[in-house]
């Protein structure tokens, strides 16, 4: 008779001991991993979430060019770009804390749900430590919230709504780009000089978060200098034909049209406004004028001749003459054969700022990085002296007032810099009513894991 040593009890005991043994290293590793996607090997991964399809695909492409360039410069390839002019010298061109930087890309499609899905996949599958990019405030707010809950740092790309660092601000989110309030504050004095204080404005406004805050900001700033607001008409996104909204403007008693539109909508509404003869018209005994609060180079190229003489604002422009700008334009221009756009610039700077903050903090822990970014003052990145304000994670720097050039020589200088508005003029309190008031809060930093 053979006797087996296998008993049910024995099997359970062995199983339990083996299970506990196998689980032990995992317990240790999870305790060792203090934050989400802590890098373990010789590399660290960034996630670049930009519109690669959809109406802002061209802008997304330019952001990607800049992000790729930033990664090269951090890894010590190329001519180093702005690293040579950046006031902080924590980065030495050998990667970050001894790790080479790699990147993956996601496609936001300029849709909040698609952008969140792309970001989630990069965080969970690719293990990225930071997400950067985008060209819509709707997308930025959605991805910022996701990064907050996942324990990842979000370095916003092009997002201009007050809400991103206003009522929707998050401890893990940072914005280098300027906002609607700053545009309005910078534009108002220039508009006052150019068009006087006795003006009546008619607003056409894109019906979403950016449009609303842009309109609110420019209305407040222009009313403060004496302008009257005749009407504000909300227009659907991607309306295409704005003629029904533009036709009533001329007989409304207004003598200024403010187009709170961006991208393709702005190209169409401005073109159609010019076709309807608004630029040649007279109203209230004055020349009728058009204002476009937020400009981009790609929009200006799309709008062609219609943009001549029209005022707007920008975060940065390649025609600036400071050292940082020149270094960046040289790197970018030699690699891609074209000057960078202001969305490319903000993504490039954000990527370098993150890398620098990690190097200064000595850790990839998002809370340590956030602490290093909060209150950080720097220069040499193309906008003069800049402060990353701790209270709302908004960068404060000079703002450019632009005008459509009368006689551009190439497709890249369709806009000219009229004035660099000093940072003091565009400053506001962190609890400003347009930014969520006293209730707005960053919340707690989330390191995840």
């Amino acid at each position: 008779m053979s006797k087996s040593n296998f008993t049910r009890r024995g099997l359970l005991k062995t199983g339990a001991v083996t299970g506990a043994g196998l689980a032990l290293p995992t317990i240790f590793t999870s305790a060792a991993s203090a934050f989400t996607n802590e890098p373990t090997g010789s590399t660290v991964k960034f996630g670049f979430n930009v519109p690669q399809t959809g109406p802002y695909a061209e802008e997304g492409l330019d952001e990607l060019r800049a992000q790729e360039l930033a990664v090269q410069h951090i890894n010590g390839e190329g001519d180093g770009g702005m690293l040579s002019t950046f006031s902080s010298k924590a980065l030495d061109g050998t990667g970050i804390l001894g790790r080479k930087v790699e990147f993956v890309t996601g496609d936001t499609q300029t849709k909040s749900d698609a952008a969140r899905a792309a970001a989630k996949s990069m965080i969970e599958k690719d293990g990225v430590v930071m997400i950067n990019g985008g060209s819509s405030s709707g997308v930025a707010v959605a991805v910022q919230e996701l990064c907050q809950s996942a324990g990842i740092i979000f370095m916003a790309g092009l997002t201009h709504s007050n809400d991103t660092t206003g009522k929707d601000r998050k401890a893990n989110g940072f914005r280098h780009f300027f906002n609607a309030y700053m545009s309005a504050a910078a534009l108002a004095p220039v508009l006052k000089n150019a068009y006087g204080t006795d003006r009546r404005a008619y607003h056409l406004t894109a019906d979403y978060t950016w449009g609303w805050t842009q309109q609110e900001s420019i209305q407040a700033a222009t009313e403060a200098m004496g302008w009257e607001t005749v009407n504000n008409v909300l227009t659907p996104l991607s309306a295409g034909d704005f003629s029904s909204y533009i036709a009533p403007v001329l007989n409304s008693g207004a003598d200024i049209l403010v187009l709170n539109h961006y991208g393709g909508d702005m190209v169409n509404s401005l073109t159609q406004a010019v076709q309807f003869g608004l630029r040649d018209a007279q109203a209230n005994g004055k020349n009728f004028e058009i204002v476009v609060p937020l400009y981009s180079e790609l929009m200006a190229a799309g709008a062609g001749d219609n943009i001549k003489g029209v005022y707007g604002s920008m975060n940065w422009n390649w025609q600036l003459t400071d050292e940082g700008t020149q270094a960046f334009v040289k790197s970018f221009g030699e690699k891609y054969g074209r000057p960078p756009s202001n969305s490319a610039h903000t993504c490039y700077v954000q990527t370098l700022l993150y890398a620098d903050a990690v190097a200064r903090a000595g850790s990839f822990n998002p809370c340590a990085v956030a602490e290093a970014l909060e209150g950080f003052e720097f220069s040499g990145m193309g906008n003069g002296d800049v402060l990353y304000r701790a209270e709302d994670h908004q960068c404060f720097k000079d703002v450019l007032v632009m005008k459509g050039a009368e006689s551009p020589t190439t497709e890249y200088d369709t806009l000219e810099i009229v004035e660099t508005t000093p940072v003091d003029q565009v400053m506001y309190a962190p609890d400003h009513p347009m930014f969520g008031g006293a209730e707005a809060s960053l919340g707690e930093c989330n390191a995840g894991a």
Partner: protein, 343 residues
């Protein structure tokens, strides 16, 4: 009053585009019995014929201008268009100025070929399949076409200007006895309306007064009997598909100065055009044209601030509300015939 006239003009203008697209749609449906969801893409391809000609006209060689510098501080490279060096500066500039109307000459053969290839290559195989299959395959085709256009031309809108003679706006009010500047309307939009009227009239005249048109109309009424008379109706219907594609194409070409072309402009027009066809009556050509103008005008009036302040958002839904009302009271549409899509 001036506001009403302005919106009426706007409505006629919008209606022109709707009517031209809907005309082609209903022509295809009436002859071939196919619900063509790729029709908006044909409008878009037409618009990109104008963009293509603009690119061709813009082809240029580079000349270094040592007196100026580029953004990197190197001597500026100036581009001189080939047309200007081949045909002389004056005639070259004239060609470039008139490139949008000239694009029609390019668009007609291109659209006939595209229509022919689409019909023979794909849609032919779906004649006997259910309407749902036709919708799916043509919708898929539309997506493929627009992605192809995006691949070659990018996603940004591409500005395509009207000839400089038509770039301003006309003081329309003075003609009607209003004060100067009361009703300003862009010249090109007036041109577009006249152009649409000519095309619509031409299509009707072709169907009404030519033997070919008579056979096609007979085929639309009773395909089987026409076939029994020994006439190859299928071949003629294929040609009608080409004609419908050409109508959509030239409509797209002439629309480019109004709306900078982008790859998804076809989809934006498609849904509205379908509503137009349904409201006009499936298969009815006069119905499609009448409904196109009617809905265009209604949409323009609904965007008036006075009306929007009474019913917010009405400009976005007016077309669909009217469609529901008409389908409830006249299920065949305004001028629909009995027996169409009712079997």
């Amino acid at each position: 009053m001036d506001a009403i006239i302005l919106q009426l003009l706007n409505g006629l203008d919008k209606g022109s585009a709707y009517a031209l697209i809907a005309l082609g749609l209903t022509l295809i449906f009436g002859t071939l019995g196919v619900v063509n969801f790729a029709h908006g893409a044909l409008f878009m391809i037409g618009a990109f014929c104008a963009v293509t000609l603009q690119k061709i006209m813009g082809l240029s060689f580079e000349q270094v201008d040592p007196t100026k510098t580029d953004f990197l501080g190197k001597p500026l490279v100036v581009k001189v268009p080939y047309v200007e060096s081949w045909f002389g500066a004056d005639f070259g500039a004239w060609l470039i100025n008139w490139q949008v109307p000239l694009s029609i000459l390019l668009a007609i053969p291109v659209m006939l070929i595209v229509g022919f290839v689409m019909e023979r290559g794909l849609i032919k195989h779906f004649y006997k399949r259910p309407h749902a299959d036709q919708i799916l395959v043509t919708f898929g085709l539309a997506i493929v076409l627009q992605e192809l256009v995006k691949y070659f031309f990018g996603a940004n809108p591409i500005q395509t200007g009207a000839p400089s003679q038509f770039s301003g706006s006309m003081d329309f009010g003075v003609l009607l006895g209003f004060d100067p500047m009361a009703i300003m309307y862009p010249y090109w939009r007036l041109v577009y309306f006249l152009f649409a009227a000519v095309v619509i009239f031409g299509v009707f005249a072709f169907l009404q007064f030519t033997t070919f048109g008579m056979v096609v109309r007979a085929g639309m009424a009773d395909r089987e009997t026409v076939g029994l008379l020994g006439i190859n109706i299928d071949r003629r219907f294929t040609l009608m598909f080409g004609l419908a594609a050409a109508v959509a194409g030239v409509a797209g070409v002439m629309y480019t100065p109004i709306l900078a072309p982008n790859y998804h402009m076809g989809m934006d027009f498609l849904v509205l055009s379908f509503v137009v066809v349904v409201v006009g009556g499936m298969g009815s050509l006069p119905g499609a044209v009448a409904a196109g103008f009617l809905l265009g005008i209604l949409q323009s009036f609904a965007s008036m601030n006075e009306i929007k302040s009474l019913i917010p958002g009405i400009d976005q839904v007016i077309i669909y509300l009217v469609a529901i009302l008409i389908l409830l009271t006249r299920p065949r549409g305004l001028l629909g015939r009995a027996g169409v899509m009712e079997e």
